[in-house]
């Protein structure tokens, strides 16, 4: 293929077209804008612009009690409210030194892995939608997601804004029937994954569109703080579930898939393979969940006053490292509340991945980053 420089030499000086992709664009997954400079259809510069959905989440949380921030974390990455809850309560538990009962830990793992599954399925659907697959994979993903959201609703009362976890445990215990429902669902998930693979895995168009596109080199990925499936697609073995072993993740037997090329295809496959591992974790958790209380009796929801100090808690959310940094001044209100939003930091390398590519590749590269603007803009 001719390089940009060669093309320039052949065609002579060409005009650069500046296109503002977004904030109202079907493939930016929300109100996100890319200032793109194009030479023909080839990208020569790309600057992500965001903040259209900024509502100063951190300031809001610094005005309310520790408890009041939990429902707001639902609205960060509104597809994965359960993992957002977990990230925050983990930080508070570290800050206040709370213990989580065994059963609550298991419930957390179950809901977090269900969240991961539906997020990854949805992401693949959206990615294929960006590739122009007229919504078929997306609808299959949403069909399964719907079933998971139904489970969330019967557990927590809400489908997306679950507001389920509390520091020191979870809000309500799950019933035995609910666990049976989950077991039934988990049993059907491998079939869904098989169908998904048959539909897409060896599709020539998909491979041609994604292989070698949006390559993220390993060193850049580490240096730019890219996390989650995107980092692992570049071949870096870093999964916080394995590194920090937060919660009870050290009890589960699961593997971390690693990519080699760091292109869009690898990132897509990482999600597909992680979904299979997620099913494994779910099966183990559902087998071993013990009975018992779900709240730390020491945990005080109202009027929690952690000691003066600070804590950084992080989890492996479906999108990457989701961290919460809290500084307590001894009052009931966090002095500083900071979110480490994985989607936003993963966007740092968007320009590096897109330069010299086609405008169609920009769209799928962005799709493979997996951003949710609620989290990017906060």
């Amino acid at each position: 293929m001719t390089s940009v420089a060669e093309m320039k030499a052949i065609a002579g000086p060409s005009e650069i077209m500046e296109v503002s992709m977004g904030p109202h664009h079907p493939s930016t997954h929300g109100v996100f804008r890319m200032d793109v400079r194009l030479e023909g259809e080839r990208v020569v510069r790309l600057k992500p612009v965001f903040g259209y959905l900024h509502r100063n989440h951190e300031k809001i949380a610094e005005h309310g009690a520790y408890l009041a921030a939990i429902p707001y974390t639902d609205r960060l990455d509104y597809l994965c409210s359960m993992t957002n809850n977990w990230g925050y309560v983990l930080a508070v538990e570290k800050l206040a030194g709370l213990q989580v009962p065994e059963r609550a830990e298991y419930i957390r793992v179950i809901v977090a892995e269900l969240t991961r599954f539906q997020n990854h399925a949805g992401l693949i659907g959206f990615l294929l939608q960006d590739m122009g697959a007229s919504g078929t994979p997306l609808m299959y993903a949403f069909r399964e997601r719907e079933k998971i959201l139904d489970l969330f609703e019967s557990l927590s009362g809400a489908r997306m804004m679950c507001n389920y976890m509390r520091f020191g445990g979870v809000r309500v215990d799950c019933s035995a029937e609910w666990l049976d429902e989950v077991r039934r669902l988990v049993a059907t998930l491998p079939r869904f994954l098989g169908e998904f693979e048959a539909l897409l895995r060896s599709n020539e168009i998909l491979m041609a569109r994604t292989q070698g596109v949006g390559v993220l080199p390993r060193e850049l990925a580490i240096n730019a703080g890219v996390t989650g499936p995107m980092l692992r697609a570049s071949g870096v073995n870093y999964d916080i579930r394995k590194v920090d072993k937060y919660g009870i993740y050290d009890r589960f037997d699961f593997r971390v898939p690693l990519g080699e090329h760091g292109d869009v295809y690898d990132r897509y496959m990482m999600r597909l393979l992680e979904m299979a591992e997620t099913v494994k974790i779910l099966e183990q958790a559902l087998r071993n969940i013990p009975a018992g209380p779900v709240m730390d009796p020491k945990a005080k929801l109202r009027g929690l006053r952690p000691k003066v100090g600070e804590a950084y808690g992080r989890i492996e959310s479906p999108k990457g490292e989701l961290g919460f940094f809290l500084i307590s001044d001894g009052s009931t209100i966090p002095y500083r509340y900071r979110v480490r939003p994985p989607s936003m930091i993963n966007l740092t390398v968007l320009e590096d991945m897109c330069l010299g590519q086609n405008i169609a590749d920009v769209v799928i590269t962005l799709g493979s980053v997996d951003i949710v603007l609620g989290e990017v803009d906060r």
Partner: protein, 406 residues
């Protein structure tokens, strides 16, 4: 050896007879005019009606493919959905960008629809049912088809929108590139038939050996040519997976991004009309036009055969749309020039081999037919396998295996 089967029922010619009856009963000076109108009006009525049916079929079909119901609110099972859509697009505000070139912006959809309708003139939609029986019907069809490119570019250019410009550029590049395989794959048919007249091409195919028709698609070169023709037709009509000029996830709606209301609906109409027209040509060239595949089915009226085949092809279009993601521009071009073009040339060679191999060898017609078939199939399949190997190696696309960290 081959025999023409006469129509068994008057239903086959009912529309032809009706037209003659009406023309005969009009006063002499108006006969020409009435004859012309009676030819044009059915086309203008039937194909947009088919468009309406197709939209609902497409939406419901896609819905079922995607495990949902599809439109089912307007009328029983949503069959009146196209009416609601028509009312909606008619009553919507027509917005024209201030900086657009108003005249061209206004003309583009009209030109597009007009040229799309013109293409139906040479399609034989039934026995004795060709609007204009041109000697160079195929040529006329492609000439008219090329005019749609002009309309698309008018739309993209006059809107003064960067996306629409990109869309128009894509559309032009794509349509011109795919016109070549489209034409070349029909050249094979023209070679065998020895005529450019669509009516005569169908007549050629409406013969039967035993009970099986002489459709071109039943020959190896015809099958390959038909597949190539349909791929090129998909690209020519901007259908998925070649819908790059619209590419709603990249350039939003491409060349018609700045159109709204009824003009937008006209673009849609034109797109579907083009799809019908080019499918109609595919039917004419390869699927025996209005003829039935088996002689014992010849009692079914010819126009039912034509529209039945058309619907079948449309279902194919919908099915493909529901499955495949879109290609990228450079891949599309590579596909056109590196795969489609050589393959159509191979098909032409194969057709030539077919033409000059004797149909019967040493007194056995059956054996000769089989040998001819196999040789021609080999002429197509060999280069296909070689080409596919080369292309796959060049592109380095592969299924990958992944390693895991414990």
């Amino acid at each position: 050896m081959s025999v023409a089967v006469a129509p068994a029922f008057a239903a086959d010619q009912i529309f032809v007879a009706l037209k003659y009856w009406l023309v005969l009963h009009t006063p002499g000076p108006f006969q020409t005019l009435v004859s012309i109108l009676l030819t044009i009006i059915p086309i203008i009525v039937v194909f947009p009606a088919l468009f309406a049916v197709t939209t609902v079929l497409e939406r419901k079909g896609l819905g079922r493919i995607q495990n949902r119901y599809g439109p089912n609110r307007v009328g029983p099972w949503g069959v009146f959905q196209p009416l609601a859509d028509a009312v909606k697009s008619l009553t919507k505000e027509d917005i024209v960008p201030r900086s657009a070139d108003h005249v061209v912006h206004y003309l583009a959809p009209l030109v597009l629809v007009a040229t799309a309708f013109l293409a139906f003139a040479v399609l034989p939609i039934g026995r004795n049912m060709t609007a204009v029986n041109l000697d160079a019907g195929v040529l006329f069809f492609f000439a008219i088809g090329a005019a749609t490119e002009l309309a698309v570019f008018m739309a993209g250019w006059s809107s003064r929108n960067k996306y629409s410009l990109l869309g128009a550029m894509r559309a032009i590049a794509q349509m011109i590139s795919y016109e070549i395989p489209l034409i070349l794959s029909s050249v094979a048919v023209i070679m065998i038939s020895g005529t450019l007249s669509t009516t005569r091409i169908v007549d050629e195919q409406a013969h039967y050996t035993g009970t099986v028709a002489h459709w071109n698609v039943f020959t190896p070169w015809g099958l390959a040519g038909f597949i190539l023709f349909m791929i090129a037709a998909t690209a020519e009509t901007n259908r998925s997976p070649f819908d790059l000029p619209e590419g709603e996830s990249e350039i939003i709606a491409g060349y018609f991004i700045e159109y709204s209301g009824f003009k937008f609906a006209l673009f849609f109409l034109a797109e579907y009309l083009e799809m019908f027209a080019v499918s109609g040509l595919g039917i004419t060239l390869f699927l025996g036009g209005w003829s039935s595949p088996f002689s014992f089915l010849a009692w079914i009226p010819s126009w039912i055969w034509f529209f039945g085949k058309l619907l079948a092809l449309i279902v194919g279009f919908i099915w493909v749309r529901g499955t495949l993601p879109r290609l990228r521009m450079d891949q599309l071009m590579n596909f056109a020039w590196k795969f489609m073009l050589p393959m159509t040339l191979v098909v032409i060679v194969s057709a030539g081999v077919w033409r000059f191999l004797p149909a019967g060898v040493a007194g056995s017609a059956a054996l000769g037919g089989v040998i001819r078939w196999l040789v021609c199939a080999l002429v197509v399949a060999g280069p296909y396998i070689a080409l596919a190997r080369v292309l796959e190696r060049g592109r380095k696309i592969e299924k990958r295996t992944y390693r895991y960290a414990e």
